[in-house]
Amino acid sequence: MLQDILVTGLVNGGVYALLAIGFSLIFGVARIVNIAHTAFYMLAAYCFYSLLVKAGLGFAVSGIVSVAAVTLFSVLCYRLVIEPVREHESAVLIATIALALVFQELMLFSFGGHYLGIPSTLDGVVNLAGVSVPYQRLLILVVAALMLVATWALLYRTRLGLAIRATANDIEVASLMGMNVDRVAMATVAISVALAAIAGVVVAPVLVVDPFMWLSPLVTMLAIVVLGGLGSLKGSLIGALVIGYVEAITVFALPSGAFLKGAVALSIMVLVLLVRPEGLYGVVFEEER
């Protein structure tokens, strides 16, 4: 059981980290609480399904095409829906909620509400320390790790990353130093949605795809981001691992744990907030006046 907990926690934590880091990036740079973040993850899963099962393309092609398509689509949504109301924080909030609902209903309409299964990308199991781990879960783990490293490299080793970090730090000064803040925000949206889409594509074969699959990861992701501190990437990563393991422990160790896993994870978030209102690694924002 211990090995089960270790492996499941790590795999789930990896997926959560992909989602949470993307969400955290958008919040840090553009101060957008993007409720539609996991809806893009759902869109990517559907896109992957239709390319792979309906159109019969290969795994690699459909994966890459769906990530690219969803990313482009997110930039389009940002330009058309979010950017015109950027000054009104509350309008942005419900615009993202409404976007998520639109995606959910569109998918419900075009694919129906039933669960769709996607064949595994890789079949077979490998024996790791006494637990048999399907290759698919190993693939999730590897992709998550690669993407995290790539995001780190992008943020800390490129000029775009420098601009993103500068904008997150202080948008006005970044603008004064000649950075195109709007362009940076758009690039951030693209990067973060791409991370969500990659998560959707690799996870789809393990889960079932349905129009409501965005809700439960959304809540977990928000819990992680708040736990780790809004806008902090390190916090999101650690929060993702904490929540991933907490969920795994609840499911394996408690009776009726499957129902309680969300409640326990969220209670941990509330506990952390009671002790540190800005999350584990959050910075205390100076009150804007």
Binding site: A91, I97, L108, F109, L266
Partner: protein, 359 residues
């Protein structure tokens, strides 16, 4: 006779001077006479549910719009009211007229607890943390199905009244009373403090306002109203189910609140009265019934693109203008302020008078 004359004078001087107040009065009267004019049970059912959700949306607005504590888990109070009232009335056989208040009080207790836990949280942290509470409650309900009925909820409740019309009046009167009460609170000195807390909490504290106590109080009041709405809802549809705690309901109330215009009380109520019957009405059409949520979301998006501050502030700015000197509101087509006589800058109107003067 004196009171009649006095009442008429009040009406003329305080209500009919402003188109928005006239509209509110007309709307309240229309709700009260509706069963006599058009007694279709289906319509009455929709309006009853609309009224209950209007209470819920107005209570969210007091907390989120006025005080700035944007609550993403408002369904917790709705669900707490619904479940508490349902369980008490079923297990102890108490009449729903009593248990509705018990439900509201239980919701108030939840409000105080949530408010206490979230005391130190600001802005987005508060929103995202409050999202968690109804889900924790939902997890507990599913984990102990013997007590809560699990997925099916608590069913077989008694209604407050027996006939359709009586139930309708219970909901309408409750709605008018609660919304008017919330509006009075929001318009009082207490409401002014709430505005101050939203705009600048540090400055409010520096002015000697005990902001944590005010925030707790507003959490309690808002939760009380939401719990009342939840309890009435449960007894009306005769089931207290997990749907009263779902994230979808929490998001729904956020959409109503912001769509109608935050920090107005009447805005969210207007939004519920527009959006809820609209979605129900769309469900009647076979061809687009499945698409109703889609249409709902698209309408919300489009309205926001044109009126980012919400529907009711936008409409109010079209039909009323604020006096530049005394800040009182006036009909948009008046040329001088009704209270201090200062000339009003009117769009359209002033352009015409300029034209008349110039030759």
């Amino acid at each position: 006779m004196y009171w009649l004359r006095r009442g008429w004078a009040e009406l003329k001087n305080e209500v009919f001077v402003l188109p928005s107040r006239t509209a509110v009065l007309a709307w309240a009267l229309a709700l009260l006479v509706l069963p006599y004019v058009y007694g279709d049970p289906y319509v009455l059912r929709i309006v009853t549910l609309t009224c209950l959700f209007a209470i819920f949306a107005a209570s969210w607005d007091l907390l989120a719009g006025y005080t700035g504590q944007v609550n993403f888990g408002h369904a917790l109070f709705f669900g707490a009211g619904a479940y508490a009232s349902a369980l008490v009335s079923l297990n102890f056989g108490v009449t729903p007229w009593v248990t509705v208040w018990i439900g509201a009080l239980v919701a108030t207790a939840f409000g105080v607890v949530v408010g206490y836990l979230c005391q130190r949280l600001r802005g987005s942290y508060l929103s995202l943390a409050t999202l968690a509470f109804p889900l924790i409650a939902l997890g507990l309900l599913f984990a102990f199905p013997d007590f809560s009925g699990g997925e099916l909820g608590v069913s077989g409740l008694r209604r407050l009244a027996t006939t359709v019309t009586a139930n309708y009046y219970v909901a309408v009167l409750a709605m008018l009373a609660v919304v008017f009460g919330l509006w009075l609170i929001a318009d009082s000195k207490f409401g002014l403090v709430l505005h101050a807390i939203r705009d600048d909490e540090v400055a409010a504290r520096a002015s000697g306002i005990n902001t944590p106590r005010y925030k707790l109080a507003v959490f309690a009041v808002s939760a009380f109203a939401a719990g009342l709405a939840g309890a009435l809802f449960a007894h009306y549809i005769r089931v207290a189910g997990p749907s009263t705690l779902e994230t979808a309901l929490s998001f729904q109330v956020v959409i109503w609140g912001i769509f109608g215009g935050a920090a107005t009380i009447y805005g969210p109520v207007a939004a519920v009265f527009i959006l809820y019957p609209l979605t129900e009405w769309l469900a009647n059409f076979r061809a687009i019934g499945e698409l109703r949520l889609l249409i709902f979301a698209v309408i919300v998006l489009l309205v926001l693109l044109f009126m980012p501050r919400g529907l009711s502030p936008w409409v109010r700015d079209r039909i009323e203008t604020a006096c530049p000197r005394c800040k009182q509101r006036n009909r948009a087509w008046r040329s001088a302020c009704r209270l201090c006589g200062a000339p009003l800058e009117n769009r359209g109107r002033s352009a015409i008078s300029e034209k008349l003067k110039s030759p």
